[in-house]
């Protein structure tokens, strides 16, 4: 007995020891990558475009809020509130320029400009501004910022917050202040309809207005407002611009007081003698208030009315026509996004709120919303109302878990603003932990990768625990943490859904890898896959989509309407819809102005996809056709432009790649634009590089629509970790390649023709010589460019074929040179787990004395898509040109691009070729600066007849060198004659003057030193 007692004690002791050991490694692991946080050295913001190593490190090393709170000596709450007017407190600004500078506004100026009688300050979208203020009392303060969203780009306002020149914690890097958006409705209250009576989704416009921003975590992991510890004395506060200008009047520092619990509130109701209202039912359609005075306000352009056809009960509904009847769904799912309704009740008393909603995307889970009434959270439970999963529509009261409906007090005649905001609710803490685990796993993976390479030797003993003990510890910790999370999740949702199963799979892998070191190398590939899986898991769980049909303010206890129709109602609805579908003309869908079939009609063919052409249709209807009396027909095709032009039934206007445009033009299928009215003015809208590609011998055959080019993407975290500066020249790049390669990483580089063009133009060469009569690849500069490229690929064995986004995500390719728009768009949706860890900047280049900007020639060769006047426009050139001119205007291009982002999402940024429009696109100011830097250093290659042959033979030459180790110069020269012959042949065919180049005289055209 005694013995067993002793044993038990020993066991207990050992357990405690082990647990503390594990948790010690755990906390160490958690702190591991950020362990230099104690000596917080985050420097004050300097120039925004600088990419120095220290800056990146500083950004990445800022600790999180949890750590910040833990590191504080005292967590005493402040007791007093004080307000700082920023106009008075302004000290200095940095990084702003003449056009975009900080402006102090007096109370009267503010009143005049922004309609509020208080002194304020205008902060532009670049640079940072610093303010000084006095604190009387030590303690934790929360911040409330009174801001005015100035009419600008279609993104939220973003700032970084510095206190005393330092970012206090990582959450302070993302202060997201939403703008207010409102639908543009017909007569202020109803949706516009097309010719057949379908509702047309209204466009949205910004409603510049004063709002209060409470400093909080933009990711939603921290539920309560963020608090900053301030000692008594003088402090400074700086805002560094990330996106958008803003006007701020005051910043209020106040102690955080949690809202009362519902029980407390009820007690107060009773004390005040509030009674439930009688016989009241105020129904509010979620998608449209129907009241022009109080329209629905939203935080984003992307939250717009939707059409639900899944239930005949959704109001309004029609069997054949599209009715906009709901709002939200996956457009309203990101933490912080809100929808605001304004009501004026007619009776005083206690109301309950019921809502008809649909949450069918997070299976076995719930989504959360926070409710504000006049800017206040009425009670604690209202800050995370839960909406459970069901496959169909639900009509429920806002109620506590045990089913008691919450009651809200409203007074008659008063105006109330009810705001529903997306929050992560009780999931936030769990998700925060998973987020930490994910970044730990990512770091561990990279550490292991740097030792083993991407295909490790299974039978080798790498001795990880000695080389990278912290990486292995991190994995141990991750497994433990995920296990705890999985358990908690099960407890919350009460079931083991696919959600939990994903986590369990990862736990099994992590445990296998950490229990036996020989398993680490074997399972590295799996680890990589699972990191991606966990990233997706996190993204899915963070999104909180909720679709709402209507909500009702009513007498407590009122019977709720049925949420779904019965079988026969549904059947009848479907039958009606089926029969009516035979009578609907889908081709006129979306047209609001009658398309007249006269000779003036302009026919436009696009291959850009349904969403894009719908947006174009709307723009045409609301702008072009209103002002010009010209009918426009937009047709979505999948090619065949040339064939139909040949048959004489082709379009008036087509969207063509630059090569096609010129190639069709020399066959007289595309009309030149030079003689058109206002041509010269129109051409100034585009960079020269873009128009060059559409011009042949002085005749321009199209206006640039999109223009893309190569830029350099890099992983900030990896470069900072390895202590590498971001390369600005190719020599810099070559210096860091060996370091990357010892760590089993590589670089994604354009090969073949793309790479050759890149080096050729950066070295100051040209593709063609003698006005396009022959290729210039036999020149010395071209040959050295080609040799440089093949050398890179041969000596460093860069991969030729790779999945760019995937390798960039896993960190195997921390530096990637790629087409900026497609990779950017792809990474935004594909790799959310590395958001904020990467950016794109202008290309490295060759040192060049002639380059006036920075002494480095880093130009990028552009790819252009043009809008062209086809042969079919010979009957109506004036009208067609008008359309062309209209569509490429700055304001039209920017509304088109912004609508696209609004409808499809951030991953559909448009690479417009219009310089003015690019400014209005929702890039952050840093992204925009980087983009402009490259935009200004671009070249376009003229498409001469026979140009198609170049890619082919340069590719052949490149592959010959790469595969067979042929001499680069010889390989290239072998093909130059072939290319020249083809060019000559084509020039003869189209009657251009040509050089007679044959094998025998081709050597005459080779430069010799």
């Amino acid at each position: 007995m005694k013995k067993s007692m002793f044993k038990r004690l020993l066991c207990g002791f050992l357990t405690v020891l082990m647990l503390s050991g594990v948790s010690a490694t755990g906390t160490m692991a958690a702190a591991g990558p950020e362990n230099n946080s104690a000596g917080l050295t985050t420097s004050a913001p300097e120039e925004t475009t600088k990419n120095s190593l220290e800056e990146i490190k500083a950004i990445l090393d800022t600790p999180g809020y949890d750590e910040y709170v833990a590191s504080l000596d005292s967590t005493k709450k402040a007791t007093e509130t004080f307000t700082v007017n920023l106009a008075d407190a302004f000290v200095s600004s940095k990084g702003t320029d003449e056009e975009r500078k900080v402006e102090k506004l007096s109370a009267s100026q503010t009143k005049e400009k922004y309609g509020k009688d208080v002194a304020s300050i205008y902060l532009p979208e670049v640079g940072s501004a610093t303010f000084q203020f006095e604190v009387k009392e030590d303690g934790l303060y929360m911040l409330e910022i009174e801001y005015y969203s100035v009419l600008a780009k279609a993104t939220s306002i973003e700032r970084m917050l510095y206190i005393d020149g330092k970012i206090p914690f990582s959450e302070a890097r993302y202060l997201t202040m939403y703008k207010t958006w409102v639908d543009n409705l017909e007569e202020g209250s109803s949706f516009k309809q097309d010719l057949t009576g379908n509702d047309i989704r209204p466009t949205k416009s910004q409603l510049p207005s004063w709002n209060t921003y409470t400093f909080s975590d933009s990711t939603g992991f921290v539920v309560d407002p963020l608090q900053i510890y301030l000692t008594a004395g003088t402090h400074t506060l700086s805002f560094e611009a990330v996106r958008e200008p803003v006007v701020i009047s005051t910043v209020t520092f106040k102690p955080y007081v949690a809202p009362p619990t519902y029980a407390e509130l009820l007690a107060e109701y009773e004390k005040n003698g509030y009674q439930p209202v009688e016989d009241v039912k105020i129904r509010i359609e979620a998608e449209n208030s129907g009241n022009s005075e109080y329209p629905i306000l939203t935080s984003d352009q992307t939250i717009y009315p939707l059409n639900d056809r899944t239930s005949p009960k959704t109001y309004p509904q029609d069997a054949s026509k599209t009715k906009l009847n709901t709002i939200g769904s996956d457009k309203w799912k990101t933490n912080g996004q809100w929808i605001k309704y304004t009501i004026t009740p007619e009776k005083t008393g206690l109301y309950e709120i019921s809502m008809r909603f649909k949450q069918s995307s997070l299976e076995g889970m719930y989504v959360s919303r926070r409710i504000y009434i006049n800017g206040e959270i009425p009670f604690r439970e209202a800050s995370y109302l839960e909406f459970l999963y069901k496959d169909e529509w639900q009509n429920k009261r806002l109620a506590s878990e045990d089913g008691t409906a919450y009651q809200f007090y409203f007074e008659a005649g008063k105006t109330y603003e009810i705001k529903f905001e997306v929050v992560l609710g009780s999931m936030s803490e769990i998700l925060d932990r998973v987020d930490n685990v994910l970044s730990l796993m990512n770091q561990s993976y990279l550490k292991i990768l740097m030792i083993t390479g991407s295909s490790p030797d299974q039978y080798r003993d790498y001795n990880f625990s000695r080389l990278i003990p912290e990486a292995i510890n991190n994995l141990v910790f991750s497994a433990k943490e995920l296990k705890a999370v999985s358990k908690e999740l099960k407890a919350i949702t009460g079931q083991t859904g696919s959600h939990v199963a994903t986590l369990n799979k990862i736990i099994v892998l992590l445990e296998r890898m950490t229990s036996d070191e020989s398993q680490v190398a074997k399972n590295l590939e799996n680890l990589k896959t699972y990191i991606g899986t966990l990233g997706t898991w996190l993204l899915d769980s963070r999104s909180q989509p909720l679709e709402v049909d209507y909500f009702v303010l009513q007498t407590p206890g009122t019977k709720l309407a049925k949420a779904n129709s019965n079988f026969f109602q549904s059947l009848w609805f479907e039958i009606k819809a089926f029969i009516l579908s035979f009578f609907v003309d889908y081709s006129t869908l979306g047209a609001t102005v009658e398309i007249k079939d006269d000779d003036k009609k302009v026919e436009v063919w696009t291959t850009i996809g349904r969403e894009k052409s719908k947006i174009m249709r709307q723009l045409v209807d609301s702008d072009f056709m209103q002002n010009n009396e010209i009918s426009v027909e937009i047709k979505l095709v999948s090619g065949g432009v040339l064939q139909s032009t040949l048959a004489g039934i082709g379009p008036d206007i087509a969207f063509l790649a630059s090569a096609d445009c010129v190639n069709y033009a020399i066959r007289d299928a595309v009309l030149p634009l030079n003689e058109m009215e206002g041509f010269d003015e129109v051409m100034t809208r585009f960079p020269k590089a873009a128009t060059d590609t559409l011009t042949l011998y002085g005749e321009t055959y199209g206006l640039p629509n999109t223009m893309t080019f190569l830029m350099m993407f890099y992983r900030m975290d990896i470069l900072a970790d390895l202590g590498l500066e971001v390369p600005r020249t190719w020599d810099d790049l070559k210096r860091i390649i060996p370091i990357l390669q010892t760590n089993h990483m590589t670089i994604g580089f354009p090969s073949k023709t793309a790479g050759t063009k890149l080096f050729l133009y950066q070295m100051g060469g040209e593709m063609y010589a003698d006005d396009g009569k022959r290729i210039n690849l036999s020149s010395n500069v071209a040959l050295s460019a080609f040799t440089e490229l093949t050398d890179l690929f041969q000596s460093y064995r860069f991969p030729l074929t790779y999945d760019a986004a995937n390798r960039f995500r896993t960190g195997e390719m921390p530096i990637l040179i790629a087409d900026y728009i497609s990779l950017y768009n792809q990474l935004t949706v594909f790799a959310p787990e590395i958001a904020g860890l990467w950016e794109f900047i202008s290309l490295p280049g060759f040192e060049d004395e002639n380059d006036t900007v920075d002494g480095i020639n880093n130009c990028s060769v552009v790819t252009v898509e043009g809008v062209c006047l086809m042969k079919g426009a010979e009957d109506n050139p004036e009208e067609s040109w008008k359309f062309l001119e209209w569509f490429t205007r700055g304001d039209v291009q920017s509304s088109y691009s912004n609508e696209l982002v609004a409808v499809v999402g951030q991953s559909s940024k448009n690479a417009t070729a219009n310089i003015e429009a690019l400014k209005d696109l929702p890039w952050s100011s840093r992204e925009y600066n980087n983009l402009m830097e490259q935009f200004n250093e671009t070249v376009g290659i003229t498409e001469y007849p026979g140009g198609y042959i170049i890619t082919r033979y340069v590719d052949f030459a490149f592959m010959d060198v790469y595969n067979n180790g042929a001499n680069a110069t010889e390989a290239m020269l072998d093909y130059v004659t072939e290319i020249n012959k083809e060019i000559t042949r084509k020039r003869k065919e189209f009657g251009y003057d040509y050089l007679e180049i044959t094998y025998s005289n081709s050597s005459d055209y080779i430069e010799s030193e």
């Binding site: 040339l642 064939q643 069709y664 790779y802 595969n963 065919e989």
Partner: protein
């Protein structure tokens, strides 16, 4: 002379009529048959004979899709045979391709069909489906793109790297040394198509009494049975299979394009079809492309005739 006979309305005699009149009379007599065959003939004329004819005419012009063609006589053919190295390469490639894939797939189809024929009916149905599936499942051959991806994560490369045979990924479809063999393998894999099905049908259609009769006549083994009984009975299917195999082998272009790109590296797998596509769609020299098409047509026609000759020897 024919007028006379018509006037007298005597009983007509073949020798008294011109050939045209006789034909016309026969047509009138069998008009139902002509009506029944008309839909096919019309479609066949519009979609096969007419294009071939137009193509032959165009091959003597410099038509470029958009402008009115000019007549250039034999220029296209002269350039094609005397001044177009790539055409010669493509002819070479096509013949290598056809010589391996044509007979290869033919034999493969035949052997597979023969073996499958020996199975019990239920299993036969399943196995037939399995063998036939590569050719019905459209773009399934694209999986070879993943297997032989030039990425180091492609299956073949990853395996070879894992086993330590290579350090750097092989650029399978971008390396002139590998392109042609790989394309031939893929072509053989997809070739168990219509010919294969017709062979199975042919085997099924052989009358069993013939085997008994053969046995009585002294057939000693299965080989003799195959050669003297089975094959002669299924000659129509053999012919059909051969025509299919040849047309396929010569017209093999799309698969190579989707695997090795267009044009394949250093023209390593550039067939006549590709050359045709190159001039027809990249350069829009439709006149020249028509000349290439005409040549290809003649080659196919010639080899069909040759195969017909060979097949007539079966069973002799």
């Amino acid at each position: 002379m024919s007028a006379n006979t018509a006037v007298k309305k005597k009983a007509t005699n073949r020798s008294e009529m011109s050939k045209a009149a006789w034909t016309w009379k026969e047509i009138k007599r069998n008009k139902t048959a002509y009506v029944m065959i008309a839909p096919f003939v019309i479609l066949f004329f519009i979609f096969t004979i007419l294009p071939v004819g137009v193509s032959i005419v165009l091959s003597f012009t410099d038509f470029n899709m958009l402008q009115t063609p000019d007549f250039v006589f034999m220029d296209n053919y002269i350039t094609l045979f005397l001044d177009d190295d790539i055409f010669i390469t493509s002819v070479k490639n096509t013949f290598i391709f056809a010589a391996i894939v044509g007979p290869g797939s033919y034999l493969l189809s035949f052997i597979c069909a023969w073996f499958i024929n020996e199975l019990s009916p239920k299993i036969r149905a399943i196995v037939t489906l399995i063998f036939y599936s590569p050719s019905i499942s459209g773009g399934a051959y694209l999986m070879w793109n993943i297997v032989f991806s030039s990425d180091s994560y492609g299956y073949a490369n990853a395996l070879l790297i894992d086993f330590g045979f290579i350090n750097m990924p092989i650029q399978w479809f971008q390396d002139a040394d590998y392109v042609m063999p790989l394309c031939i393998v893929v072509a053989l894999w997809t070739s168990l198509g219509t010919a294969f099905l017709s062979f199975i049908a042919g085997f099924q259609g052989v009358d069993h009494s013939l085997y008994e009769a053969g046995a009585v006549d002294g057939i000693k083994n299965r080989w003799q049975e195959l050669w003297y009984v089975t094959l002669p009975t299924m000659k129509p299917q053999l012919m059909f299979g051969a025509v299919m195999a040849i047309t396929q082998a010569f017209g093999f272009g799309a698969i190579v394009t989707s695997l090795a790109g267009f044009p394949s590296v250093d023209y390593a797998a550039h067939t006549i079809m590709h050359h045709l596509e190159d001039y027809g769609t990249t350069r829009w020299e439709v006149g020249y492309a028509s000349a290439i098409a005409t040549v290809l047509f003649l080659i196919m026609y010639g080899s069909n005739a040759l195969v017909k000759k060979l097949l007539s020897k079966v069973g002799n």
